[in-house]
């Protein structure tokens, strides 16, 4: 059509459908993305891009005028066009390697590993026709034992994130790998002559043997070059503590399986640190009741803010972070660790005395943990106590560092910044990480970075740092690239990709190879060659195949070594504590609006690296149940005193810098203290992270990374709506979570059952149905559940559950099929916290089914409460009539079917629900059917444990068991027959198939009446 007769809406500024299509036709491979960029300039397309992410849900409600409708229609059609041109990009998946393995419809599992803070978590990743769709733990991997954490579960969404960096950029302009190489070559030549005096490499924590070897060879090539490391949520405290205790960097790992008494000094072991998943498993296995026998072990927790460990504890005290060291000293003194004077004034002395006695009674079978974020002196003291108790070598194992090059990272980064300022740095290669956003504020990293003539940034996200760098190279996702990494015990895993880079990303290995090799080598070759070098060529192929297959490299676990404690350790620690104590005293937080400020990595987006992951953003944060935001947590007392309410925005001022943060009141949070989580308030990010939360990094100081002794705050009078998924944390005296102590159970095994009414089976108007054959059921052990939420993300990934966005969560429309309820008991200043995972109970007498006018939800022959999506008309009566409120409704079209790349994410075995239908937990019926088909093909019965639901599989503490309740020998039957077993709201006679094991505690008799557990 000519210019004149072209209709209005197709003017050059806003191209019409024809124009869009025109641009797209013939677009292939690289150019295709370029044309997407062009399109992105177009308003209609911006709208659509915005819609790609669940925020669109909110959008839609704001009316839909005809013009915008046309724009959206046009743009989405344009994307449909794109979908075709994607094919070449998808060809390069494992098909190419081993086509004969592919059975259409049958997923394959590949062993690999995900690193967080450098440490590996072994995974088995499910792949459908070459699309990674679901992450499971690798049972053979020491850090996983088959379980995972929320981060790993959400990794697949991270892989397909359409906002991932997709273009090699030069000064923000699209460039090519070739031109990058060429422009770098010249500079490297210059560095050669200077022995690399101006060359600096900045990485995050590195455990990868291959990467370490590459960097070392680089340093050999450029002797004057330097390698710096910085991890915003790193382990400096543990490192320095170890150095204080042993004079050198030492890796410490724990054997909870042998520990009868565990004392945690602000250590959130189920959530933080490299071994968290493994430790959770060992800890709960140690305590787990079997055939009704009593649980063993006892946990004391000192926490500076409510933690998951605290919720597991038999006894916990909450003190300000600033008081933790003194308390540690008090404990050491009570344990009579030589050279430790009893501190003048220590909080919670009866608690400490009793715990000390308990620890001593279990010398050699006890464990003293120092928190990841507790100051070095606490770590040093913990080492001293473990030595003194003879735990070292028994429950506490010291090994050589797992890290390739442990350093004091804050110092390392400080040194780099200093040199950058001084202009000594000519080339800085930032391999991963986002230091411009995460570096301590006092370094003013961005400003210093500006003085470097050539800045190269490798990261998966076009983030704040990318903005500051000449070159930005998109980094390949760990599911896209070859690498290796080591677990907390040193076990190495070869990280193998499941899919070729979607967006042409490069791995750190490939980038480093540019510095060292004349012809850059592929990541595959680099990693293989490294291991060939290790094992020798003989039998390497066999070794390689086995390593890949198992997901662990045999014999790489580090041996435990006995290390003498330095004589200086204890005095040094005590002195440091005294110093800190003095500072504390000076701080004097009596004042109305001053307090200490505690920094913690965010439980769902960590240090900000997962900020653009919708699953993790919408994952309710443990304890606060907040989504899409971070907040400044304060205690009820502080709230009462200052009159602050949830969402009230305060300005936090420290050292001339300030942030505005909404307040959230967290029962059990100490007074005079405020806790903020890192990673939010991203300035340059993808669409998901945009506008979420505030940025505490601007207050963070290199000298005090985790605790500012004194900040002042003042209410601004503004208010920010915070989207929590749970608003009421009081059980209202209902028997929802039943709690008892072991003594009570021993004295009266029926005490749990008697806490609620259980109607007899025959008390019924109708005869009821029989379930011959399998009858599926589930049991959940509330003593084991740590509330880590890994199951929630696992469920979301397995069942194609959409993300709805903050606005919809605020309206109470989150879609999670499985939620972890939290209830507080007792004094709000120091409550007992209980977690209760709740999903569809599959009631045998389901109230939801009776009221459905079209029979869209009904029972199958195995007692599953099945939901027939395509029959559902959406009256929502079933949800009203569900006493557990586990049904979720598609109030709007939540499922994104327009973004091509997100189509790859879906689990092909699970229907994608559309607008207007109800959905809910299915007990992972697709897994049940798959197992049944297998058993039928092999002509055998289903084996117990053959079917695991997604939540069960992910659970680090194995708190969930699923199986056939008709089979008396099945694990689930055994659990259900425990005296502490009960059903939620049994009194309604719904006959839930999912039942719970009460939460049993083992309090120290010496500490009665045990605080916080006053019932009612």
């Amino acid at each position: 059509m000519s210019e004149q007769d072209r209709p209005k809406h197709a003017s050059p500024e806003r191209p019409g459908l024809a124009a869009l299509r025109g641009r797209l036709e013939g677009a292939r491979g690289p150019e295709f993305w370029r044309s997407l960029e062009e399109l992105a300039g177009d308003e209609a397309f911006q709208e659509l891009l915005h819609r790609e992410f669940p925020r669109q849900a909110s959008e839609w409600t704001e009316g839909l005028d005809r013009r915008r409708f046309l724009q959206l229609a046009g743009a989405s059609l344009a994307l449909a066009g794109l979908a075709c041109t994607r094919q070449p990009l998808e060809r390069i998946v494992p098909y190419v390697r081993q086509p004969e393995e592919i059975i259409p419809g049958r997923p394959q599992f590949y062993a690999t590993a995900m690193t967080l803070g450098g440490y590996a978590l072994g995974l088995l990743v499910e792949s459908h026709e070459g699309r990674p769709t679901k992450v499971e733990g690798n049972p053979q991997h020491p850090a996983s034992l088959g379980a995972t954490n929320a981060f790993a579960q959400a990794a697949v969404l991270g892989l397909y994130d359409p906002d991932r960096s997709q273009l090699l950029l030069k000064l923000g302009e699209i460039s090519t790998w070739a031109s990058f190489l060429e422009s770098l070559r010249g500079r490297l030549q210059a560095q050669r002559s200077l022995k690399g005096a101006g060359l600096r490499i900045l990485t995050e924590t590195v455990t990868s043997p291959t990467l370490a070897a590459q960097i070392r060879s680089l340093l050999a090539l450029y002797p004057k070059a330097k390698w710096h490391q910085y991890e915003p949520a790193g382990r400096d405290m543990a490192r320095l503590g170890a150095r204080m205790a042993f004079g050198r960097f030492v890796e410490t790992r724990f054997d909870f399986g042998k520990a009868d008494v565990v004392f945690s000094l602000d250590a959130d072991f189920p959530a933080a640190g490299p071994g968290a998943v493994r430790y959770t498993r060992d800890f709960t296995d140690r305590r787990r009741r079997r055939d009704g026998r009593a649980a063993q072990g006892r946990l004391y927790v000192v926490e500076s803010a409510p933690t998951l460990a605290g919720t597991l504890a038999d006894h916990h005290v909450t003190v300000r972070a600033g008081e933790v060291p003194v308390l540690a000293q008090a404990l050491a003194a009570a344990l009579e660790v030589p050279g430790v004077p009893r501190p003048a004034a220590a909080p919670a002395s009866p608690f400490v005395t009793a715990a000390a006695a308990d620890l001593r009674a279990h010398a050699g079978r006890s464990l003293v943990l120092a928190g990841e974020y507790a100051p070095p002196e606490v770590h040093a003291l913990a080492h001293a106590m473990n030595h003194h108790l003879g735990n070292a070598g028994a429950t506490v194992l010291h090994t050589d560092p797992v890290e390739a090059e442990p350093v004091d990272q804050a110092a390392s980064l400080g040194e780099l910044v200093g040199e950058m300022r001084a202009g000594h740095v000519d080339i800085l290669a930032i391999l991963g990480g986002n230091p411009v956003f995460t570096a301590p504020a006092d370094f003013r990293f961005g400003e210093a970075l500006g003085k470097v003539p050539l800045r190269i940034h490798l990261n998966g996200e076009r983030d704040e740092t990318a903005e500051y760098c000449h070159w930005h190279v998109p980094e390949a996702h760990f599911l896209e690239a070859w690498s290796d990494a080591r677990a907390h015990d040193g076990t190495a895993t070869v990280i193998q990709p499941l899919i070729a880079p979607l967006y042409g990303g490069r791995s750190a290995h490939e980038l480093l190879s540019v510095f060292t090799d004349d012809t850059p080598r592929s990541g595959y070759d680099t990693v293989r060659d490294f291991w060939r070098g290790r094992t020798g060529t003989a039998g390497f192929e066999a070794f390689w195949r086995k390593a890949l297959h198992d997901g662990v490299v045999p014999g790489t676990a580090l041996p435990s070594r006995t290390l003498p404690l330095l004589a200086s350790a204890v005095p040094e620690a005590v002195a440091a504590i005294a110093l800190a104590g003095a500072a504390e005293a000076k701080a004097s937080l009596a004042g109305q609006e001053t307090c200490e400020l505690v920094f913690r990595p965010d439980p769902t987006i960590h240090d900000g690296r997962f900020a653009n992951n919708g699953w993790l953003q919408e994952l309710p944060k443990p304890l606060s149940s907040l989504t899409w935001d971070n907040a400044a947590f304060i205690g009820p007392a502080a709230a009462a005193r200052t009159g602050l309410v949830n969402g009230a925005v305060v300005e936090i001022v420290a050292g001339g810098k300030s942030v505005q943060a909404p307040v959230w009141i967290l029962p059990g949070h100490p007074d005079g203290s405020m806790t903020v989580t890192l990673g939010y308030g991203r300035r340059k990010s993808g669409r998901v992270a945009k506008g979420a939360g505030f940025d505490p990094y601007v207050l963070r100081d290199s000298t005090a990374p985790w605790l500012l002794p004194k900040v002042s705050f003042r209410p601004t009078g503004e208010h920010r709506a915070l989207a929590a998924t749970q608003h009421h944390f009081n059980m209202e005296g209902r028997d929802l979570v039943r709690v008892a102590t072991l003594e009570e159970m021993r004295a009266d095994p029926e005490c749990i059952k008697r806490m609620g009414e259980t109607p007899p089976k025959d008390q019924n108007l109708y005869p009821g149905f029989a379930y011959p054959g399998q009858a599926w059921g589930m049991a959940i052990d509330l003593s084991a559940c740590t509330g880590c939420n890994a199951c929630v993300v696992a469920c979301q990934a397995e069942n194609n559950i959409p993300v709805v966005g903050k606005e919809q969560v605020l309206r109470g429309r989150e879609m999670h099929w499985l939620r972890v309820d939290r209830y507080y008991q007792g004094d709000p200043e120091d409550p007992e916290t209980h977690h209760q995972p709740v999903m569809c109970m599959h009631c045998e007498q389901a109230p939801c089914e009776v009221v459905c006018p079209v029979g869209a939800t009904n029972h199958n022959s195995e007692g599953l409460n099945v939901m027939v999506y395509n029959r559902c008309v959406g009256t929502r009566y079933c949800s009203n009539n569900c006493p557990y409120k586990v049904r979720r409704f598609n109030f709007l079209k939540y499922n994104d079917e327009t973004t091509p790349v997100l189509k790859l994410l879906h689990n092909p075995d699970v229907t994608v629900r559309s607008r207007g239908v109800m959905e809910k937990c299915t007990y992972c019926v697709q897994r049940i059917n798959e197992a049944r088909i297998d058993s039928e093909r092999e002509g055998r019965d289903l084996r117990d444990g053959e079917i695991t639901t997604a939540c069960q599989q992910a659970c680090p503490s194995q708190a969930i068991v699923f199986g056939d309740i008709n089979d008396g020998k099945s694990r689930v039957s055994a659990w259900k027959s425990e005296p502490s077993g009960y059903g939620l709201l049994e009194g309604l006679n719904t006959r839930p198939r999912t039942t719970y094991l009460a939460k049993l505690r083992n309090p120290n008799p010496a500490l009665r009446p045990d605080k916080g557990r006053d019932r009612g």
């Binding site: 109708y766 149905f769 009631c843 389901a846 939801c848 029972h859 199958n860 006959r991």
Partner: protein, 181 residues
């Protein structure tokens, strides 16, 4: 078969100004042996149909049958659907959950009964009938206002144009007119 000469006659129509006169006239006419006659009034007068010797209305019977048919078919439908055609385990309830089937059974009984009442009434009245000879009488329009009419049909055995006319005049009829076919 009608002969063009004299317009064929449906009957004779007498007009009265009060219901009392009409009632009286109807009675007298019946005594006089007239059977094929009908009266027209602007509002229902119970006594009139007695005076004219009309049989009891059969509408109630029709309604009863309708109610029974509705109830039976209502329950049958639900039983067949829930227990025979496509039985599903709904919340552990039996296929034939009779207590839950009562409301629909009842509603269907009412529905069918109500419809049969109306259709029955129309049928018994021979409605709808767009045209009828009595409308040929110009003043008949007042039958729906304030006039009362008695019509003796020509088909009546004792009908004789002259005699019947005289007879009607004698009944205080304000006017007697031919009703032509």
């Amino acid at each position: 078969m009608k002969t063009p000469a004299v317009p064929r006659l449906y009957g004779l129509m007498a007009e009265f100004s009060s219901p009392h006169d009409l009632l009286a006239a109807a009675g007298r006419a019946r005594q006089a042996g007239y059977r094929r006659m009908d009266a027209f009034t602007p509002f229902p007068i119970e006594e009139l149909s007695e005076a004219l010797g009309h049989r009891k209305s059969r509408v109630p019977l029709i309604v009863l049958v309708g109610a029974i048919v509705g109830a039976l078919s209502g329950y049958a439908l639900q039983y067949w659907v829930s227990a025979v055609s496509y039985p599903i385990n709904i919340g552990g309830r039996p296929y034939n959950s009779w207590p839950a089937f009562i409301p629909v059974t009842f509603e269907l009984a009412i529905l069918v009964a109500g419809i049969s009442a109306v259709l029955g009434m129309l049928a018994l009245n021979g409605l709808p009938m767009p045209h009828h000879p009595v409308f040929n009488v110009p003043r008949f329009a007042l039958a729906s206002r304030d006039r009362y009419f008695l019509c003796i049909e020509a088909r009546d055995a004792r009908f004789d144009r002259a005699a019947t006319g005289e007879f009607l005049k004698s009944l205080k009829a304000s006017e007697v007119s031919d009703v032509e076919l």
